[in-house]
Amino acid sequence: MNIPDGQKYTKEHEWARKDGDLVVVGITDHAQHKLGDIVFVELPAVGAQVKAGATFGTVESVKAVSDLFAPLSGEVTAVNDALTNAPETVNKDPYGSAWMIKVKPSQASELDKLLSPADYEKLCDSEG
């Protein structure tokens, strides 16, 4: 299972990584594997407000629709528009070129409440 260090995770299978003042968000390798071939990604617009634990977008595989949950609250400062035309990137490079949004956190401490890589690995193991 590919669960890199140096970033945090949500119970809903998103990752969040600090990048200067911003936090970069995407979905995990485990999530893309469970979903299968991803064919559709819908993300918020730059300037949108996201709230920790609330949905900020949607990914769809051929068979399933899955909500994206924000790991933390704040303002969206960048959106990876390339995923619109190349949603399969999420399957190929979920932690790199398939990042989804960058957020300017309104409460940076929210990041500390997220799962560590070790805790996220336990969660994945328990879900099978």
Binding site: G36, D37, V39, F40, E42, T58, E60, S61, V62, K63, V65, T84
Partner: protein
């Protein structure tokens, strides 16, 4: 929760990283190692195998078997032995009980392949309706396993497994022959993918032997192991209806675009009066295929709107792996059912423009 059954192929499928889901009372593979998209392409480009052992098999035989089956189904099954007929069974109001294939085994014997999820209801319905005929109805579903082998290379693979040539079999015919060293396999020139191929009926006890022979021969043809996931995308690209999604007791075959399986001239049958009226007076809604103009993937139960008002629901929808774009089907008022008609599909609260298109969505290139 009732115990799920396993098909005779379960352990063999597990070797190929099958991901099993409950379906029609069985644990069936939804995907294998390759994943839905690759499995889909394997069938369109090479050859793929599906375990469809959940399908139900019912035999009706005896002196009045022909009039009994003619009464039960809407299509004309008075065909030569060795021929098969796609049809529906209806209730008196024309609502569809199931869609099925009727194989004529002999003058007085018919072999019916019904949907697995409908099996028990169908058997009860058939037994009730057949009471007044001199015939026997047997549910043999637990004796038979079934594999669908589909794709442009299906006949090549079959030629390595059987001396019975499948490439020249006309569509909707069948024969019993030796396949992969197993005697008495029923080879049917039928399928649910739009590709050439066969559906093989094999007794449970012989099933594993047939699978192993097929798997060995399949290696050189690039045989793909295919789950329910791509079975659904393949059939939807052809606009083949799925019972429970697209057709049910609340819709009649005329609305569903299946008028071609309703043969009013063959004599009396269950639902005939209602279907005759539907044919002559026309229907208020029709099952259409549409493509999305705006961004969004239609999914079952999403609302279809016209000018802000609900006019129908999506019955099946997906991202088409062959076309690389979303496709869907649903019932809409007849006035909106023409090719080019514009509709909105409501995707997560937002209307997204869609357009009715000619179907099948996928047209196979002629070799």
């Amino acid at each position: 929760m009732t115990d799920l059954k396993r098909t005779p192929f379960y352990a063999l499928e597990a070797e190929h990283q099958a991901r099993f889901v409950p379906f029609a009372g069985y644990e069936l593979p939804v995907t294998f190692e390759a994943g839905l998209m690759e499995e889909h392409h394997a069938v369109r480009r090479r050859v793929g195998v599906f375990d469809v052992s959940h399908m139900g098999e019912v035999v009706i035989d005896g002196k009045d078997a022909l009039p009994a089956v003619q009464w039960l189904v809407t299509n004309n099954v008075d065909v030569a032995a060795g021929k098969a007929v796609y049809t529906v069974m209806c209730v008196a109001d024309g609502g569809i009980v199931d869609d099925l294939i009727v194989y004529r085994e002999g003058e007085q014997s018919f072999f019916l392949c019904v949907n697995g999820a409908c099996r028990h209801g169908d058997v009860a319905h058939i037994k009730e309706q057949a009471k007044r005929f001199d015939c026997r109805v047997r549910d043999l579903s637990d004796d038979w396993a079934q594999l669908a082998i589909q794709g442009p290379k299906a006949d090549l693979l079959l030629s390595d497994l059987s001396s019975h040539e499948t490439a020249t079999m006309p569509s909707f015919t069948f024969a019993d022959a030796e396949v992969g060293g197993v005697k008495g396999v029923r080879i049917a020139r039928t399928g649910y993918t739009g590709e050439p191929g066969v559906e093989l009926y094999v007794k449970n006890g012989d099933a594993a032997r047939l699978w192993r022979a097929m798997a060995d021969a399949g290696k050189k043809h690039g045989l793909g192991y295919c789950g329910l996931g791509c079975r659904d995308t393949l059939r939807l690209e052809m606009k083949y209806p799925l019972y429970g999604n697209d057709i049910d007791r609340d819709h009649n075959p005329i609305e569903a675009g299946l008028a071609w399986v309703v043969k009013l001239k063959k004599g009396e049958f269950l639902g005939r009066a209602a279907l005759q009226a539907a044919k002559t007076e026309g229907v208020t809604r029709q099952w259409v295929g549409f493509e999305m103009v705006g961004r969004g993937i239609p999914r079952q139960h999403y609302e279809i709107h016209k000018n802000g008002a609900k006019v129908g629901e999506v019955t099946s929808g997906t991202h088409s792996p062959s076309l690389g774009r979303p496709i869907g089907c649903g019932y809409v008022p007849t006035a909106l059912a023409t090719v080019g008609s514009e509709l909105d599909v409501v995707v997560r609260g937002k209307p997204v423009l869609a357009r009715v298109v000619t179907t099948p969505f996928y047209k196979r290139e002629q070799p």
